[in-house]
Symmetry: C2
Amino acid sequence: TTEFNENPHRRFNILTGEWILVSPHRTKRPWQGKTEKQSLETKPKYDPNCYLCPTNGRMGGAVNPDYKKPFSFVNDFSALLKDVKEEKYENGLLYAESESGICKVVCFSPDHSLTLPLMSREEITDVISLWQQEYKELGAMDGINHVQIFENKGDIMGCSNPHPHGQIWAQRSIPQEVQKKSDRLLDYWNKHQKSILEDYIAQELKLDERIILQNEHFVSLIPYWAVWPYETMIVPKRKIGHIGELSDEEKKAFAEILRKTTIRLDNIFETSFPYSAGIHQAPTDGKEHPEWHFHMSFYPPLLRSATVKKFMVGYEMFANPQRDITAEQAANTIKELSDVHYSKQ
Amino acid sequence: TTEFNENPHRRFNILTGEWILVSPHRTKRPWQGKTEKQSLETKPKYDPNCYLCPTNGRMGGAVNPDYKKPFSFVNDFSALLKDVKEEKYENGLLYAESESGICKVVCFSPDHSLTLPLMSREEITDVISLWQQEYKELGAMDGINHVQIFENKGDIMGCSNPHPHGQIWAQRSIPQEVQKKSDRLLDYWNKHQKSILEDYIAQELKLDERIILQNEHFVSLIPYWAVWPYETMIVPKRKIGHIGELSDEEKKAFAEILRKTTIRLDNIFETSFPYSAGIHQAPTDGKEHPEWHFHMSFYPPLLRSATVKKFMVGYEMFANPQRDITAEQAANTIKELSDVHYSKQ
Ligand SMILES: O=P(O)(O)O[C@H]1O[C@H](CO)[C@@H](O)[C@H](O)[C@H]1O
Ligand SMILES: O=P(O)(O)O[C@H]1O[C@H](CO)[C@@H](O)[C@H](O)[C@H]1O
């Protein structure tokens, strides 16, 4: 496959049914465009102007408790609202329906200066515990059929506050990206009575071309169909439908691989690596979902340095996602990096 | 529908079959994140360091002619290559296929300082003529089944050179976004023997809630299902499958509405409005495409000012595209703007 991999080709994403264009020969283009200014400032442990730091006031008027562990609250500027009447609108070729839900903010740590890769395994385990609690509580609510846990990290990823935090948007309808995966996972399950991700991970472990890291319970890899330059996926080896099903030991293993994966991402360009991360898992619609196999993905935009990113623009928006370096090249780069954060080496 | 429009809801895109989450109540969020620096420099008419200016040398070694009209050439760093052997790769759960094609660059003007909204109707007509020629010539080539014409404008849209230019990527396979639309257009055609866009435009003209501009042959509007804050679509009133079918009069009308639409976009925040624009039209696979109705779309990222953009990140990547201002609000803003560029007022 080596020669094949050096020429333009399209790869198929078995989880979404979509294709991605790969142009491996194209990494030497000139660059006269935007370079992002790298923020090198060190952050204080407490910032009196941060609305996520303990004891500070928020925009909505609330005051944060003096929290010591991960802390969550309802977003003061939620994109979804709880009590929206269920309605459909149909007028000729215009279709819409009302949507309801809840948006929450999850502070990962009281310490304003941290990010996941700078936190200990124990501290990350506490974050996962809070995610589990939210997934269960929100998912159990009437009219909440899906719980999306995600993090936007870095201002180039639209993160409006540098305090370490993620978000949860829980809602009535199953979001589109999740539905795509649900359909394909179910298809495979119906045909094989197995998780497609379980089979995929087994194949990847055998090939060992895109694996970054593994421990007893989890694998971290660049998926064959990765879109973003250093797109990374963390997958449990056994089929676990949602994070609520993790045993204590598995939870620790998840925290450990999450820590090491984000450390390695930071080590690529010795910068606090921006990304959007998200957990895809079983809907909370009350149905059995034997097909689901949860996984966490990282979509980081940086391509060539701490300041040059990959833009998903014209061709990508109108035609097809496209990448230059191959998944194998990205995996090779990350594989060789240290598990110790560059700031601590 | 007014009350409905003030609460969170999902709208259906009849062209792609996808949904978009709208959160109209959410435009007052605080912002502690990234603000883009606005580039206020005026550009020279000729830049000796620009590889797109007439008579200058390019990276690949070629020298540009002293062109006076729109000028195109094969991209020196093409993502697609012409002579890639047709091959499929299948290995367990890994699927890929080779891809071949041609990437071209289209300089809109020899004048480095211009952008489409600063060009005359006649100059824009010349750009359209070159697009027509490229669509026909590339589309007639063996193994080219689709021709994607697009423009990335502004460095925040990954445009690596400020010289006014767009690109064309022509290739063997039908890209994903185009296939989605092809399927839905065909569906409607088979059911009604009519173009869904013709019916849609007729309905929009009657409702007059999202129309920005029109002339005898074209309409410019914010589609009901717009994703980007000021996403705009230019559609011919009669069903025209591809730009090759435009009459001379229609071509002038297209140039005119393209000029006025881009002027109004610049006038929103009195800035050179960044966007990715693209033309979706009939594939060049040699088949009849009675279902196709070409249109040009603009996806501009700016939301609240010349420096604050909408980020399509975490939730949008993992769950569902989301917008804050409604299509109607965006249309109302643009409707009231002048057809004279702010720099000339
Ligand atoms: O071809 P350019 O201008 O160097 O590159 C730009 O447009 C391409 C096509 O949309 C994208 O793949 C690149 O990410 C973007 O930076
Ligand atoms: O909620 P925040 O952090 O203000 O906003 C950020 O994340 C949201 C969810 O992905 C996006 O809709 C916004 O565009 C982005 O800036």
